[in-house]
């Protein structure tokens, strides 16, 4: 479904150029859930934005279905962003946010579709005519997910979908995403810095550092804490909480 080969993305030019992604390759099969893990600046979100067609300035190849990711394919691929406070228009009601994609793509029976979409993400019809400021963070993220699914895409790209939420709300959103993935046979790419979230949601993952894929593994390997690379081992140990010894032994990988 998704194929990425030698993807390279550079911002700026000349000596000040930032090589955010420096030759990344991976494949995601139809119906698979794939995780992209890394620290800030590793390039994981940059890869995701390129796949969503939000950034077309890259070299190498990236295809979704049969088509290059340079071509936006809103009916094939949709994205959910990290910050539910920033990704909904503050002066559009939930109803408008959800019906806009239907209008643009001239899809009929908007009324029923919006109602069904709200029910699918666990929001009652009472939420339909509310504004984002009348919703909690978790409810907003549910609306953002509903909006992403309005055009019934086959691929869902998720950029840290729960890192702005409280843990109890995170559990609700992760449960929702898992259910939707099964019901709609979605192919997913989940970008996250949280290894436990990726293990919970994905089948396979790639670990990124400084614009490169350090290693690719299946989730069972991650759960057994048996990564191949020293970088991933350090990331795993550091995720387990504070330990003075571990903190002293942290090294930087280039």
């Amino acid at each position: 479904m998704i194929s990425v080969r030698d993807l390279a993305i550079t911002f700026g030019s000349g000596p000040g150029a930032v090589h955010a992604v420096r030759g990344v390759s991976f494949d995601v099969a139809d119906g698979e859930s794939f995780g992209l893990v890394g620290e800030s600046g590793s390039g994981k979100s940059t890869v995701l934005r390129a796949l969503a067609g939000l950034n077309r300035l890259w070299t190498g190849s990236a295809t979704l279905g049969e088509t290059s990711a340079r071509v936006q394919q809103p009916r094939l691929v949709q994205m959910v962003f990290q910050d539910p406070y920033a990704s909904l228009h503050p002066r559009h009601t939930v109803d408008r946010a959800l019906s806009e994609p239907l209008e643009i793509h001239r899809i009929g029976d908007a009324n029923e579709r919006v109602e069904r979409a709200l029910a699918d993400v666990g929001l009652g019809p009472a939420f339909r005519f509310r504004y984002p400021n009348q919703l909690s963070g978790g409810q907003r993220q549910r609306v953002a997910i509903a909006r992403a699914l309005m055009l019934e895409p086959r691929v869902l790209l998720l950029d840290e979908p729960t890192s702005a939420l409280d843990v109890s709300v995170q559990a609700e959103i992760l449960n929702l995403l898992r259910r939707l993935r099964v019901e709609r046979r979605l192919t997913m790419i989940l970008v996250s810095h949280n290894l436990a979230v990726v293990a919970h949601m994905c089948d396979r993952l790639a670990v990124m550092n400084r614009g490169l894929v350090v290693e690719e593994m299946d989730v069972a390997t991650l759960r057994r804490a048996e990564p191949r690379e020293a970088y991933t081992r350090q990331l795993l140990t550091a995720s387990k909480g504070y330990d003075r010894e571990v903190a002293s032994g942290i090294v930087t990988f280039d």
Partner: protein, 283 residues
Amino acid sequence: MNVAPPPLLAVEDLRVSFATPTGPFHAVRGVSFTLGRERLGIVGESGSGKSLTGRAIMRLLPASAQLSARRLSFDGIDLLSASTKTLRGLRGARISLVMQDPKYSLNPVMTVGEQIAEAARIHGGVSKIEARLRALAMLEAVRIRDPERVFRLFPHEVSGGMGQRIMIAMMLVPEPDVLIADEPTSALDVTVQLQVLAILDDLVRQRGMGLLFISHDLELVASFCDRVLVMYAGRVMEELSARDLASARHPYTRGLLNSLPRLGDERAELPTLSRDPAWLEER
């Protein structure tokens, strides 16, 4: 810590409320704790009142807030009746507050190095040259590579994680007795987070600083702090020794712990938290 000297901070029945058109909203409702030369964690979800508790100690609440307490004292000084002048002498110099977001807390038109040096000069009473040296040493202590270069940068030229470390450096350079850290490492990568915590840890162990560590991350707090207060809806649900977190009794704490996905287990469905209205009632 039972036989320790009198606490640095004593808080008894702390209350913060705001007037709203529909009557007062009680954001903090009767919080009590003491802080010695230790690491005390306050954990809670958004809206639990944990940040307001930290700000109330600094007497840095918005003008619309109503503050009351049976006792609010720092090192024998009554913070409730203290004059503005006394408070200004304490803030920054003896009690410091590290806030969540460096974007809004750093002066945008001053280099980060000058800001740290200023803190050393004003609160530490050292010369300009000495202040600069201390600022550079502190930048190095918070694991900033090439401190000489970073010293000359403006806040908009540094990343979020670096901005957070700069804030921590600024708050630590006057060597305060108490540091109130409100989500100081939430914006940092796990490896950097661990390194910053190690700096705070050393200050508590070596200099006897008292640390009030406010965070939403239950497991991080449990692994880092000595004691933990769990807050919900402005009240302390329970207080535990950090190593006993796994055996927490309160259903709220248990619910939070259960809702976390873990590497070690493969649950298809994460249990979600059902909130008991009884938790809101004051006992």
